[in-house]
């Protein structure tokens, strides 16, 4: 194993060792959303023809869990290592900024995909959404997890304490994932909020991922792919630049 591969392996093992907190917990949370919202709204909301509301909800919830957990993985690992002081073991190694980036974002993608797949798997008990375009679904899942993993690197480097990290998560990541069309189609919103939603990059990740299941979406999947690709590249470059600078980790 080369240096970055070992770091990637260690980062995957880190979340795997506490799977109850990092995998099972988020799956259970998504399941509860599905139960509550599915039961409450099944007979009141119809988004797409021939698709039950619960089935509509499944891909969105899976993607939301995937995005939140990808972010949580890289950000919490970096902040915990900074607060505990053990980041010094990595700082002393010959690993380059690129190696750090690939390992932290790679582990975030793995956790995001594991949690997202887990949510999909347990959701099958309640509804079986079609998988019309699996390649599109996989593409958006990987890109979305990479985007959030890179954003987690940025947040992890920026945060000096756990509460700063929590603020980033609670005031930026959570609202943007919740208001991205997980529980509804943006066509059901008033025009003003439809416009606002178009400025939320999370909307394109959810909408594109859902296209992979139903073959229909609020906006063109190609447009969503463009937005998500540009956002992933932008945030990825930002994270890479901060790592190269040693932002808040080297003085």
């Amino acid at each position: 194993m080369t240096g970055w591969q070992m770091l990637l392996f260690k980062e995957v093992l880190r979340f795997w060792r506490v799977a109850a907190q990092t995998i099972t917990g988020p799956i259970l949370t998504a399941l509860l959303y599905l139960l509550v919202f599915g039961q409450a709204l099944e007979s009141h909301v119809k988004v797409y023809d021939n698709v039950s509301y619960t089935a509509f909800l499944v891909p969105g919830l899976a993607m939301m869990s995937l995005l939140q957990n990808a972010f949580a993985n890289s950000s919490s690992s970096l902040v915990a290592s900074k607060v505990m002081g053990n980041l010094v073991f990595l700082l002393l190694t010959p690993l380059s900024a690129w190696h750090w980036f690939v390992a932290y974002v790679g582990a975030a993608v793995v956790r995001g995909l594991v949690v997202g797949s887990g949510v999909l798997a347990v959701s099958l008990i309640f509804a079986v959404p079609p998988l019309a375009q699996p390649v599109w679904a996989l593409l958006f899942a990987v890109l979305g997890a990479a985007l959030m993993g890179a954003l987690g690197v940025v947040a992890g480097l920026w945060s000096e304490k756990f509460d700063q990290m929590a603020a980033f998560q609670n005031f930026a990541v959570m609202p943007m994932t919740f208001l991205s069309g997980v529980f509804y189609s943006i066509h059901s919103l008033p025009p003003f909020w439809q416009t606002v939603s178009h400025f939320n990059p999370f909307f394109y990740m959810i909408d594109g991922f859902r296209y992979g299941f139903f073959g229909v979406s609020d906006v063109s999947p190609w447009f969503s792919l463009g937005v998500v690709t540009v956002a992933t590249a932008g945030v990825g470059l930002w994270a890479l630049l901060l790592l190269r600078m040693g932002y808040k980790i080297r003085s």
Partner: protein
């Protein structure tokens, strides 16, 4: 080619105490070289800049000016090669709570690209008395055991240059002996060692050459024997029950009842003993000895009062 080279290294930090734009000069034009195979001591009072110098060497901080290299590799422009040649034992007792000792060592080997390192990891565990703790979680270890793991982590990639930043601070006698025995063995095998410590008897016993830092500047740099032989006169050591008169107290090293006074000649010894008697005290266990490194250190520090005027600049 020196194993470690500092050339005109300065480091300044923004100073919260100074006016806008003020800086604190932690290192001021430091130049020194450590040759291959040396056991080199870096001494100085707290805040002298020892750890700053080591953090720059390790790539944890960037010098504001000057250059630093390890085995000829610049620590900034050729950082990967420089870090492969360097093993650093940090001062802080830090650990990763997710993994056990063996896992931590194998991960660290992997980061350096060292494959199939189990045999060397076992040797490290054995030499540092950690074999029975190999599968223990880092959280479960005592402070002394954690310190041993830090040493093992620094050596896992067999670096030719080893840096120990106050490795024996707050550790028991057994660990000190285990550690020094192992480090001395590595030094004999050709590893270069750079040590910072506040235990001057350790530095005197181990280091062939010593640099003393004060307020970010090198104030002494010579072989240990030259530093000791340059110290003129002797030291009067005795025990005294009671407080010394103020004029003697200002000259003395006092540790509990033990008083040590620098004495140029026999006349000075007689004078000190007379002053102690006149103060109504009795000197016991009297001995005259050669100055040790602590005497030299105190003298050097007094010769360079070094008003700490580094902030703001």
């Amino acid at each position: 080619m020196p194993a470690i080279s500092f050339q005109s290294v300065s480091k300044s930090y923004p100073s919260p105490r100074g006016p806008q734009g003020g800086t604190f000069l932690a290192l001021d034009d430091v130049s020194l070289a450590v040759e291959e195979g040396e056991f080199f001591g870096l001494l100085g009072p707290n805040g002298a800049g020892k750890t700053t110098l080591i953090t720059i060497l390790a790539g944890l901080a960037k010098a504001s000016a000057g250059s630093v290299s390890v085995m000829g590799h610049d620590v900034q422009t050729d950082f990967a090669a420089a870090r492969r040649a360097l093993g650093v034992v940090p001062q802080e007792l830090v650990f990763d709570p997710f993994f056990n000792v063996r896992e931590a060592l194998l991960f660290q080997s992997g980061y350096f690209g060292v494959k199939n390192n189990a045999a060397w990891v076992d040797e490290l565990l054995d030499n540092l008395g950690l074999t029975d703790k190999a599968n223990a979680n880092m959280r479960a270890l005592s402070g002394g055991m954690k310190r041993r793991v830090l040493v093992a982590l620094a050596l896992v990639h067999k670096p030719p240059v080893i840096v120990l930043d106050e490795p024996t601070a707050g550790v028991d006698v057994e660990l000190r002996q285990t550690l020094w025995h192992f480090i001395a063995k590595l030094n004999k095998q050709g590893h270069t060692v750079l040590l910072t410590t506040h235990y001057l008897e350790e530095a005197e016993a181990l280091c062939g050459r010593i640099a003393m830092l004060k307020t970010g500047k090198v104030v002494a740099l010579d072989s240990t024997s030259a530093l000791l032989s340059a110290a003129s006169g002797n030291v009067l050591r005795c025990t005294v029950d009671g407080d010394l008169p103020p004029d003697l107290a200002s000259l003395a090293r006092v540790t509990g009842r033990v008083v040590q006074l620098p004495a140029k000649d026999a006349g000075a010894v007689e004078q000190y003993l007379a002053q102690i008697r006149q103060a109504g005290l009795q000197a016991q266990d009297i001995e005259i000895r050669r100055p040790d490194l602590e005497d030299v250190f105190l003298k050097v520090m007094q010769q360079h009062p070094g008003r700490d005027d580094r902030s703001p600049v």
